[in-house]
């Protein structure tokens, strides 16, 4: 059994966790990060790849806007191309009532500094003639876009390593305690003693919080994703819909990535799988939006494991019970875009005890008296 003593221990190896390791090293602290499997292979790596501010809960917008600035510099920071492209994110209305939802959101978003363009049927057809007749209008966020989720997390993990963080993969954490002076984290093959502890354990974040007497009702969330073989450029924007039951984008290489509904997950072994009926459903919905994809060939489907909170926004902030403990989990299917900013926020919380971003809505104490349903069945917004 190996023993490490560091300033900060991090449980979890997703993008936010690895970005936190980077920021903490930049601040001069020693860091040990413990990941159950491979960094960036969980929720960070299996999601749709949407880099989107539009459609978010307004509580998340300040974080999302902060993250958006970071995305512009990510290739340079990470030293590799993570596939980020500001293709714009367009949210489609399939009915007049959908359109009313988009109009109301755009009006309120303007008050939060997010400029959206509403498009009626004519403007929509002029700009995107490949959309099917089911679409009646849309809201465009020109500064949003997409990236390759499989490479972002691992790239942050490598940068953290280069900066001197101890990044341990295949090191599932068994337990963690606080003995009054510091933390002891027991993982497979290694025990870490630290002054501070970051809980970025995704679907397992609630269990980790529970070790410190805190309640956070996290349910497993498994997106159901499908991808086609590459075809010629067609889908110029990253696409979502009101209601969130389907989302579509085309990669630079030409593959069309689509998702919708949920896969299944075994929380015990951490393995998630797509559900074929859900895949077929998402394929059908995609065709009503983009009929020209009729002859595309689907080559792969997948799922993964994220954590979902009952109110669909994450837990981010200091522990209510244990000084030195900081949480960031339960991103409810839309944490990918936030990851780089959440890393910085976690480092601020560790080094200064506060963050430049408003975190009041994300505090864990909101669930202290939680008696409601554990699992949400809502659509995943993308």
């Amino acid at each position: 059994m190996e023993h490490l003593t560091v300033d900060v221990a991090i449980i979890g190896g997703g993008t936010a966790a690895c970005a936190a390791a980077v920021a903490l090293r930049e601040a001069g602290l020693t860091v040990a990060l413990l990941e159950k499997r491979l960094c960036g292979a969980g929720a960070s790596g299996v999601n749709f790849g949407g880099v989107r501010q539009q459609g978010r809960d307004f509580a998340e917008l300040p974080l999302s806007q902060r993250a958006r600035v970071l995305w512009d510099g990510l290739n340079a920071k990470l030293g590799e191309d993570v596939g980020f492209e500001a293709t714009g994110h367009i949210k489609l209305a399939r009915s007049e009532s959908d359109m009313a939802v988009l109009e109301a959101y755009a009006r309120d978003a303007a008050g939060h500094g997010l400029d959206l363009q509403l498009l009626g049927p004519n403007a929509l057809r002029a700009e995107m003639p490949w959309l099917g007749p089911a679409v009646v209008g849309a809201s465009l966020s020109p500064t949003d876009g997409q990236a390759n989720p499989r490479v972002v997390g691992p790239a942050f993990a490598r940068l953290a390593r280069r900066l001197g963080a101890e990044v341990r993969e295949h090191a599932p954490v068994r337990h963690a305690i606080h003995d009054g002076s510091g933390f002891t984290v027991e993982a497979e093959g290694v025990t870490v003693k630290s002054r501070s502890l970051v809980n970025a354990a995704g679907a397992y974040g609630g269990a980790v919080a529970g070790w410190f007497g805190e309640t956070a009702p996290v349910a497993p969330l498994s997106p159901n994703m499908v991808v086609t073989e590459p075809s010629g450029p067609l889908v110029t924007r990253s696409i979502g819909v009101v209601g969130g039951d389907v989302y579509v984008r085309q990669t630079r290489r030409g593959n069309v990535v689509l998702g919708g509904g949920r896969g299944t997950a075994d929380i015990a072994d951490g393995l998630a799988r797509p559900v074929s009926a859900v895949s077929l459903g998402a394929m059908g919905k995609t065709l009503t939006l983009i009929p020209d994809l009729a002859h595309a060939q689907v080559i792969r489907s997948w799922s993964g494991l994220d954590g979902e909170m009952p109110d669909h926004i994450p837990v981010i902030g200091p522990s209510g019970t244990t000084p030195g403990l900081v949480h960031a989990f339960g991103f409810s299917g839309h944490g990918f875009q936030l990851g780089p900013a959440v890393g910085e926020i976690l480092a601020e919380l560790v080094t200064q005890g506060r963050s430049a971003s408003p975190l009041q809505p994300f505090r864990i104490e909101r669930f202290a008296a939680w008696r409601g349903p554990y699992r949400s069945e809502g659509e995943i917004e993308h």
Partner: protein
């Protein structure tokens, strides 16, 4: 209690014999077949109207092929046969059994089955070499299919290259069909074949004949060369020639317009993967295969395995395993057992296993070739990923495992899902990292097993 639904995936020798045993026992198994006519690959039948004499198509194996085709025809009314249908997804259902996601002539169908017999067969193992992506280069399996199903050769002047017992067999079949076979190049040395010859000759099986004929020069007139190196296909738009270095170090160049290449066979085990079967690494053939007991049980209590899909044994072994596995399944259902029949099959299979071990020794998978694969050579042809990109991902991006390598480089992410490039990529990664190939793992199977259209066929 109603009879359980048994679904058999694959209508080659293994699947057909399993179907026969289950039908004899009064069950009505479901037989799902990607092919349009039962028979599998080795006994592939031409489309209706294009039939030719069995002796021309199957050579030594004509009798067995005919017997199996007759069996398929006789079974048809007693089983639920679904030709032209791929099983593209498999998932467990509560409280037990499986749902099979199928795509056939009528569109998508979801079939519930209590037990599965997976007889999913094999395909060629490929290794990259210069020019291997040029039009005119085929796998040996494809070269056989062209001959059997379409009555066509892959070229006028055909060169065959690679390793494995299929090499002399296809050479023999092509020569017999009247094609001009201009070279048969084996990248493994002659020595292991000579060493294995006595053990091989002890087994009077068709493949042994093929090997024995090779060794004795019975393919006289065919330019068979063992131990060749630096094989390269030359051409600009299509195959024009094959160049190589012989065992003595001399360079040769042979003009040709078709190349068949294969370096042995690999199990098609994606269905077993999706069904949740445990896999084990076979150090002899250097591939991961679903665990299979001698009686045909997989690690999953409701899954049974037969034929090349769970370990390469060839068509004769597949037939025996199909029969044996179905008997095991019936026994597990509480049906009366025929101990004498089981014992006879076990004896025959044990004998086949000894022969197979000799054959594997004669035709080792030539993984040493990966040393000589240049950095600019394409390994994953779906995504255009080179050997150099794989090596750089290993060195510079911490890719020490196959699924991570896939995520970072896109190798194995295209329409074949790593079925073509997976083994070569694993060998390249392991060789570059100087670790045993089993430590880099294997690509996980993902639905759909083969591409399906976004829109359901009308």
């Amino acid at each position: 209690m109603a009879d359980p639904v048994v679904a058999i995936v694959g209508a080659g020798p293994a699947g057909l014999r399993a179907a026969q045993v289950l039908a004899e026992a009064g069950l009505r198994p479901l037989l799902v077949d990607e092919g349009h006519r039962a028979g599998g690959q080795i006994y592939r039948r031409p489309p209706p109207g294009a039939e030719r004499p069995a002796a021309d198509l199957y050579g030594f194996e004509a009798g067995r092929a005919t017997a199996l085709h007759d069996l398929a025809d006789a079974l048809a009314p007693r089983i639920d046969y679904r030709p032209g249908t791929i099983v593209w997804g498999l998932s467990g259902r509560e409280p037990a059994g499986f749902d099979l996601d199928c795509l056939g002539p009528e569109g998508h169908d979801r079939i519930a089955a209590d037990r599965l017999v997976l007889a999913t067969g094999a395909m060629d193992r490929t290794l990259p070499f210069p020019g291997w992506t040029l039009p005119g280069v085929f796998t040996l399996g494809a070269a056989q299919i062209a001959l059997k199903a379409q009555g066509m050769a892959i070229g006028r002047r055909v060169a065959l290259v690679g390793a494995g017992p299929l090499l002399p067999l296809v050479a023999h079949q092509y020569a017999k069909a009247g094609a001009e076979v201009v070279a048969v190049l084996d990248v493994t040395p002659l020595k292991p074949k000579v060493m294995a010859a006595p053990r091989l000759a002890a087994m009077p099986a068709t493949l042994a004949k093929g090997v024995w004929y090779t060794l004795r020069g019975a393919l006289r007139g065919l330019p068979v060369r063992p131990g060749v190196r630096a094989v390269a296909v030359e051409g600009t738009m299509q195959v024009e020639a094959l160049s190589f270095e012989d065992a003595g170090g001399r360079r040769h160049r042979i003009a040709c317009d078709g190349v068949g290449a294969s370096f042995g066979l690999r199990s098609e085990a994606q269905a077993a993967d999706l069904a949740g079967c445990r896999f084990a690494f076979d150090p002899v053939t250097r591939q991961w295969q679903p665990e299979r007991s001698a009686q045909g049980r997989a690690s999953h209590p409701h899954v049974y395995l037969a034929g090349d899909g769970s370990g390469i044994g060839g068509a004769d072994v597949a037939e025996l395993q199909g029969e044996r596995t179905a008997l095991t399944l019936l026994a597990d259902l509480g049906r009366p057992r025929d101990a004498a029949r089981e014992a006879r099959l076990d004896r025959l299979l044990a004998r086949q296993a000894r022969f197979r071990a000799a054959l594997e020794a004669a035709y080792p998978y030539p993984h040493h070739i990966v040393e000589s694969i240049a950095d600019d050579e394409i390994v994953c042809r779906c995504e255009g990923i080179t050997a150099g990109a794989l090596r750089r991902a290993a060195t510079e991006r911490d890719a020490s495992e196959m699924n991570r390598l896939k995520a970072l480089t896109r190798a194995g992410m295209g329409r074949c899902q790593g079925r073509v490039c997976g083994h070569a990529a694993a060998e390249i990664l392991a060789h570059h990292l100087r670790v045993p190939v089993e430590t880099v793992g294997r690509l996980r199977g993902q639905a759909p097993i083969k591409p399906i259209p976004l829109r359901e066929p009308a």
